[in-house]
Subunit: 207 residues, 2 copies
DNA sequence: CAATGTATGTACCGTTTCGTACATTAGCGA
DNA sequence: TCGCTAATGTACGAAACGGTACATACATTG
């Protein structure tokens, strides 16, 4: 293979392809040879840059979470009324999840392994904070005005939203099989998006 | 090993242990040798009874879903008022999920593989029906009395409840790591159980 | 333009892992 | 009790798989 050298491109291409393969096959199911074959480089580079299969997976996890965090920080719902802000956060989170199925599936894989890998990645600590603080602000304003209930915190709300959104992607195969509803179909997706907004608003405004 | 022969016990012990191992390690991560070692029989029996690793996984899936369905049919919330019935269904589903983490993790594993295995198990078709019909009944009564909103169906409600419950178990590792909240701790669990009820009731009664 | 370290390619090794051939034993019916 | 079949155990093979030794080419710098 006659091609100019580009360390950064080799690295990022490996991570990109590995993200796909790990999210398609799981950690153990992913094959180092397959990942290498799908890139324009060779297996050797995986060991050169990442030390091995696990190191590559760690790098994949880190890259995925970093992308997520960057997007989360662009939520800025500070200029909306609390109720509208809540709905908007829910809907953006929803879009975000269904637009990044690889990431969600990666999280599933990591959970199968009980988070054993992510514990090793220092940069992933305290990554949850941003998402929580945005919600905390909105909840505080809503409580002050009496529009939102006071007996739940930001983590409660975030968990609920995450649960609904993650489910759309992570469990579409089994749920679709059992209930004959394809959650990836555009119309269903649009409907579920609105439903999520209704759920969160209905929940938080009921008191 | 000098022990009396018992085909049924061998079979069921293999399925029991395989359920654990597959849910702990995923499909590819599970080792047939490890499964065999954890039982009182040998690897040979996996091939004798199930034909191979995949056949064993299929049997595990089938057994797990059958157990679930049996439990679901004992919901009988027919004698409660619609709003109370909804809350009760949500709470029982919640208990059910957190009490059977192996099953939930197995479902995650199967979703990683896009439901490829469960499609091969004939007996898993039309297994979603029971859960849906119970909800349909309650929703119909609630709509008639005007207590419950009319723009959602049983599958919508079931999806929401499932999403929240599955998340408790399937994503506890990553969520706990990122937000420092251990969803398996008894007090958190009890709190989330109540919150789920609030969410569903708040949602369905808001209109 | 030489020299040096980074980056890459090739071929191979040792182990793991699924699967199987073959032997053997327990129990049931005749 | 004898034989036959279902059930079980043992040992091993072939391929897959993660990883590495070694050779080499590129590019940057002095």
């Amino acid at each position: 293979m006659v091609q100019s050298r580009d360390a950064e491109r080799t690295r990022s291409e490996l991570i990109e392809v590995a993200t796909e393969v790990f999210s398609e096959q799981g950690y153990s199911g992913a094959r180092v040879d397959e990942i290498a074959e799908r890139t324009r480089t060779t297996k050797r580079m995986i060991y050169y840059y990442f030390g091995g299969k696990e190191g590559l997976f760690l790098a994949v996890l880190e890259a995925a979470y970093r992308r997520i965090r960057d997007l989360e920080q662009n939520l800025h719902a500070g200029d909306l009324e609390p109720v509208d802000a809540i709905r908007r956060i829910a809907e953006l989170t929803f879009d975000h999840h269904v637009d990044h199925p690889d990431f969600i599936r990666l999280v599933s894989v990591e959970n199968i392994h009980r988070g054993r890998h992510m514990e090793k990645v220092e940069s992933l600590r305290e990554l949850g904070a941003p998402a929580a603080t945005v919600l905390e602000d909105v909840l505080a304003r809503g409580r002050a005005s009496g529009e939102l209930r006071a007996d739940v915190d930001a983590v409660d709300v975030h968990m609920m939203i995450s649960a609904y959104c993650v489910f759309q992607v992570a469990n579409s195969a089994t749920f679709g099989f059992l209930f004959g509803r394809d959650m990836l179909a555009p119309d269903v997706r649009e409907r579920n998006r609105r439903i999520l907004g209704d759920i969160v608003v209905g929940w938080l405004t009921a008191h």
